[in-house]
């Protein structure tokens, strides 16, 4: 696809860089390389910073729920604890199992991380702060995050470990099942907006807070609740964290991974947690809209609020069993979301909505 401007929607923010490069007289192909490299580095920087922050934040929240302090030693309330952890993981020995499937074992964390990474391309962080405003934005995110399933299956298979295999199979079953109610919840919003572009969806919710889709009774709240349940499962978090159920499968699919390979899974998990929250904010909470503060601050605040909700779930609830999880998806979530979708479609057709 082609962009009207060299940095797409971000041109207003990074255009000066491009103009600077242009003034050096480099040929056009080189400029393109620089442009894409800069965009990639930008997304990578954002995702890494966010994941590092979320790891620290989760540890603090868990600690305070459990009446502990959590990390306290490194900086103010241990703020660079996760930086230290990341450095440790980078420099750690990469322990490999002899019986692994070399190709699959190596590529699993890469695919997992890249899938989490690519999803950030169409997330609107603020007004004009989107790497590419695809006209199929939300569909693109759903498609890209599905790669996670493949990577988890690959990790489970490539490790040649029975616990890992069980974890991989569990994750495939779970993620495929919860994809359906998730998409059906998202479709309700897409139906009302009439567009899959993330920017269009946010623009449709401008103005008063009542324009947020979460307040469009009765479909909005139902869609949001079913979405957040399915999203918790998509992000592999308690009460749906059966792929890596520590007490049953020890660590699940990532049992044989260590060092940076493990870190990639770990960061991808937190990045996915942020992605599903960002989608929730974009679809249901008006995206970047908000008074006084800059748009990206509003977006981050709202998204972190949703992330906080996911973290509360995690540190409060026990875990479901694998068959109960599937039953819940197929016998409850799927019928509810489809009924909601059909009802919403009919109301839209009849024109009974505001």
């Amino acid at each position: 696809m082609t962009y009207p401007l060299p940095f797409g929607e971000l041109h207003g923010v990074f255009g000066w860089l491009y103009e600077l490069l242009e003034s050096t007289g480099l040929p056009q192909p080189w400029l393109d390389v620089v442009r894409y490299a800069a965009l990639g580095a930008l997304v990578f920087g954002v995702i890494s910073l966010l994941a590092l922050f979320l790891v620290w934040w989760e540890r603090k929240i868990a600690a305070h729920i459990q009446q502990r302090f959590g990390p306290m030693r490194h900086g103010w309330h241990g703020w660079y604890q996760t930086v230290a952890d990341a450095v440790k993981l980078l420099t750690k020995e990469d322990i490999l199992v002899d019986t692994r499937d070399k190709f699959v074992f190596f590529w699993a964390p890469v695919i997992c991380f890249v899938a989490a990474f690519l999803a950030y391309v169409t997330i609107p962080f603020g007004e004009g702060l989107i790497v590419a405003d695809l006209n199929i934005g939300i569909l693109y995110i759903m498609a890209i995050t599905t790669f996670t399933i493949i990577s988890l299956l690959m990790a489970g298979w490539g490790s040649n470990n029975k616990y890992a295999l069980l974890g991989g199979i569990r994750s495939a079953a779970q993620l495929i099942s919860y994809e359906i109610p998730m998409v059906a919840s998202i479709l309700v919003v897409v139906l009302f907006v009439g567009s899959m572009s993330m920017v269009d969806i946010v623009e449709a919710q401008s103005g008063w807070i009542t324009n947020w889709y979460v307040f469009r009774v009765p479909f909005g709240p139902i869609a949001f609740i079913t979405y957040i349940i399915a999203a918790t499962a998509e992000a592999n978090r308690t009460p749906f964290d059966i792929p890596e159920a520590e007490q049953e499968l020890v660590a699940g699919y990532n049992i044989e991974y260590s060092g940076m390979k493990f870190a990639m899974f770990f960061l991808a998990e937190f990045a996915n947690g942020f992605t599903v929250s960002a989608i929730a904010v974009t679809l249901f909470f008006g995206g970047w809209h908000g008074p006084f503060l800059p748009s990206w601050v509003w977006f981050l605040l709202k998204t972190l609020g949703v992330v906080f909700l996911l973290m509360l779930f995690r540190w409060t609830y026990p875990r479901l069993r694998v068959d109960q999880l599937m039953e819940f998806a197929w016998k409850f979530l799927v019928p509810v979301t489809f009924a909601n979708l059909i009802l919403a479609a009919w109301m839209k057709y009849a024109g009974w909505y505001w």
């Binding site: 009446q67 569990r170 009460p239 007490q247 409060t316 609830y317 026990p318 479901l320 069993r321 068959d323």
Partner: protein, 367 residues
């Protein structure tokens, strides 16, 4: 369409596994996620404690007993002291008996609090573990205040107890009781009615009463199946006949009932401790017993109700200063034997829940 080939596979659950509570190894035959065969392998912690006791004087056996079942070490100490006292017909002072009961019951509460936390953690709720240990801390502080130790106390000795309680013990103890009573409501609010907790525990791992009796299961696990059997009432030892307390029972014998029953027991134990504190008499804390005392030749079996069922010791004496033979009987051993009966034909996740609800402690199984 080609026929799919399926096969069962064997998984080693343990000895290093987060939810086997120590070093128990279960050889599981799985068909997909379904457990079709369980073979427990024990003995990783075998230290030959019974044999070690035969090479020590009676007084030296007490610290060994602490290592027998360290989560409720007090009951093991009491058990051995009681057996030796029965053998040598030693009269224990009144105050010492009261102190023993206080310590035994506090230790039972501490053990059940650990159970609460660990079970919740095995089902995937990580937070209750910290809460359980937080309240246990108050009890452990009381022990530390009294005898200087937090896990292996060496407090109950033959003929009495080693030290009297300090003056600040009683107010601190009452405060701890009050805190635990308050916090128990929080615990129940967090899990008892939680729908996920209910579907994970209700109807899982049902132990019929007759099967439990056939396997020699005792304690909370048997009482959760509806059998009202508690040695504190049925064969009272120490001064338990003086206290007013109930033996809670439940009907279904599933994981959920075993969990609720232990919470009920905590409440009853709190009552006993309070009554004992109210009635605590003044006086000696230890009868005069020589460290090298020689009980007359004979044999004795003593038993107590600890937090995991009937704990018993059989001592044979030839009149020397060391016991001739010592044989222990622990509740966890029988509970582990019944696991293959109630744990097969369920999913791996259920097996973890059942294992947690039996509250097995491996040092006691392995001796």
């Amino acid at each position: 369409m080609a026929e799919l080939r399926t096969e069962e596979f064997t998984v080693n659950m343990g000895p290093h596994h987060p939810s086997t509570h120590g070093v128990c190894r279960l050889i599981l035959t799985l068909s997909g996620e379904k457990v079709i065969k369980i073979v427990p392998v024990i003995g990783y912690l075998h230290r030959a404690l019974e044999k070690i006791c035969e090479n020590r004087t009676y007084a030296q056996c007490i610290p060994v007993m602490d290592r027998f079942e360290y989560v409720t070490a007090m009951s093991c100490e009491y058990l051995f002291s009681n057996a030796a006292e029965k053998l040598a017909e030693i009269e224990v002072p009144e105050r010492a008996e009261y102190l023993r009961v206080i310590m035994l019951e506090l230790n039972r509460i501490a053990s059940h609090l650990i159970f609460y936390g660990v079970t919740a953690m095995d089902i995937g709720a990580l937070t209750p573990f910290l809460y359980g240990l937080r309240e246990r801390e108050g009890i452990i502080d009381l022990f530390e205040m009294t005898c200087g130790q937090r896990l292996t106390y060496n407090y109950i000795r033959i003929g009495g107890v080693s030290k009297d309680i300090p003056p600040q013990f009683e107010p601190k103890c009452r405060e701890t009781i009050k805190t635990i009573r308050e916090k128990l409501n929080d615990y129940e609010g967090l899990l008892n009615e939680n729908p996920i907790w209910l579907v994970r525990n209700k109807g899982i791992g049902v132990l019929p009463a007759d099967l439990g009796i056939a396997y020699g299961v005792s304690g909370p696990v048997l009482r959760a199946s509806g059998v009202k059997y508690d040695i504190r009432k049925d064969d009272p030892y120490s001064i338990y006949d003086r206290f007013d307390f109930e033996i809670p029972t439940r009907e279904n014998g599933d994981c959920y009932d075993r969990y609720l029953l232990r919470l009920d027991e905590i409440k009853q134990s709190l009552n006993i401790v309070e009554q004992a504190l109210d009635a605590l008499p003044e006086g000696d804390i230890k009868a005069k017993v020589s460290p090298n005392f020689k009980p007359p030749a004979g044999e004795v079996y003593a038993r107590v109700e600890n937090s995991r069922g009937e704990l018993g010791v059989y001592i044979q004496s030839d009149g020397g200063k060391k016991p001739l033979r010592v044989k222990m009987r622990g509740g966890s051993f029988n509970q582990l034997q019944v696991l293959p009966e109630i744990g097969t034909d369920c999913l791996v996740a259920d097996l973890v829940a059942i294992f947690a609800s039996l509250d097995i402690i491996l040092p006691e199984v392995d001796r």
